[in-house]
Point group: C2
Chain length 328, copies 2
Amino acid sequence: MALKIVITGGAGFLGSSLARELLKRGTAAGPDGKPTEIRELMLVDLVPATVQDPRVRSVVVKELSRSALGAAFGRDTDSVFHLAAVVSAGAEADFDLGMTVNLDGIRNVLETCRTLPRPPRLVFTSSIAAFGGQLPAVVPDGQAVTPTNSYGAQKAIGELLVADFARKGFIDGRALRLPTIVVRPGRPNKAASSFASGIIREPLGGEDAICPISRETKIWILSPRRAVVALMTTHDLPAAAWGPRAALNLNGLTVTVGEMAASLARVAGAKVAARIKWQPDAALQTIVGGWPGEFDTQRARALGFTPDADMDAIIRAHIEDHLPGGVR
Amino acid sequence: MALKIVITGGAGFLGSSLARELLKRGTAAGPDGKPTEIRELMLVDLVPATVQDPRVRSVVVKELSRSALGAAFGRDTDSVFHLAAVVSAGAEADFDLGMTVNLDGIRNVLETCRTLPRPPRLVFTSSIAAFGGQLPAVVPDGQAVTPTNSYGAQKAIGELLVADFARKGFIDGRALRLPTIVVRPGRPNKAASSFASGIIREPLGGEDAICPISRETKIWILSPRRAVVALMTTHDLPAAAWGPRAALNLNGLTVTVGEMAASLARVAGAKVAARIKWQPDAALQTIVGGWPGEFDTQRARALGFTPDADMDAIIRAHIEDHLPGGVR
């Protein structure tokens, strides 16, 4: 047998990166837990997927409805990575859209999984946006979620649904709370965390970048490379190792925004780092400053997840992966 | 002005008790926070309400759909107590029914509240069933929920929805995690906690009661009287006092099952207590033993909530309220 894997949000940045790595590796854990050949990688999104490979099938859907998902999953889906989401500022600006995509979306994915002849593996990406407000300086694994935006609330609800569908045996489910992904390639998006990639990416590309957040603000980050590894590791871990608590605080790196700028100067030079323009934005500062900047991720470490070495390594990896012509 | 208050589950035991107390008091906090006359008490349920009063309107609905709720709420609802639910063993036996009533139910209540001209007060009853599995011996206020049954998962999801709808300003919402209510009047129900009332109620009424749970098991309880006071207090507290964390671990009393039996012997005599028949049930023991038996409820105490004095007082109150002819 060989695997059929579905990635929702498969045309997005993280979905595309994950697809490329899965295709490169060629295998993932099968129903018996052993590395099994990937036969088909179905990339479900609002727009056509860009990853090219004979094993890839791009499926364009208008919405994450049960009928659209049912048609895409068919009867033979073995694994699902559910990445499709409306990001934080987007879900905050359009409440109903966030509820539809982020809440009904995961519920419809779960109900569709439940109709399959064999409970599939499901990896659900949640976020540290599940946390906000008054929190311990270092957030432990057992900390209650306290979302202070709708995106975080919808992700936290998704985690509970994944856990309960898994407990019922409808799926083999795992939810992963990703740190802020830095450096995202491409253009800024509506996420409140968009600046964190922008202040590295734009200066490296020869453009100025506005930093609306103070130098002292701690953020909890993970590189795209490590995020993809974490997604694949989460998928492949045995259900018994994962345990009953579906949502995992993934281990990241704590850096201040000022340290990120200093790292950029070290790796790419002071001239590049000077392209960061510091323009405080009180509203964004409140949102980003409300996210926890440091976690004690005992469970993630015990499961074998590893964070990035340091900020310099993250920036060097971004240059390698996305700036073939070097820094401008 | 005078208030229109809706109670979903208004024909149930807790809904009826709450209705009677609200009618007796005659007032509740109005939009300005001041005690305001109750003009109409609408009791929404699957069956007609039993509470008789000129201010009561009984509304029978087939389901908690938006259309049914919209018709019941009208445009002039000031406050909603959302108590309607499928209990723990019921939601476990029929997953889809639990999702529909316990999850879609609160969502439809919230969306209906959102259509009102003024954001209503909403009190949502959640439960300590939101907790399960490996927990600290004494559960603190900031403990992450870890439901180990679908009822608990659905309640925990409801809490997150209430918090986010409140944060958005669609409602003035509060969620209350009730301890196990002891002594419930009436007959046993499908809740795994049903024994906790049964081992007091049935012996007092002259019947034997099976206790499937071991004497050493700690449970976290609250009397019906104090539950009703807590619901009214929750409703009346200013939003600023409640704060952004919607779900409150209400303070209860920690007792072992053995202490409950000893209390029954003290209050009603050894002959009555001998009607408890100890017949361990491993499946029920696993469920009930998985619930936390002790909490550190700093937040509830600071907000002015008070638990029952002791088990003896709980039993005496039950006799007063429900056994006018005395113990048999």
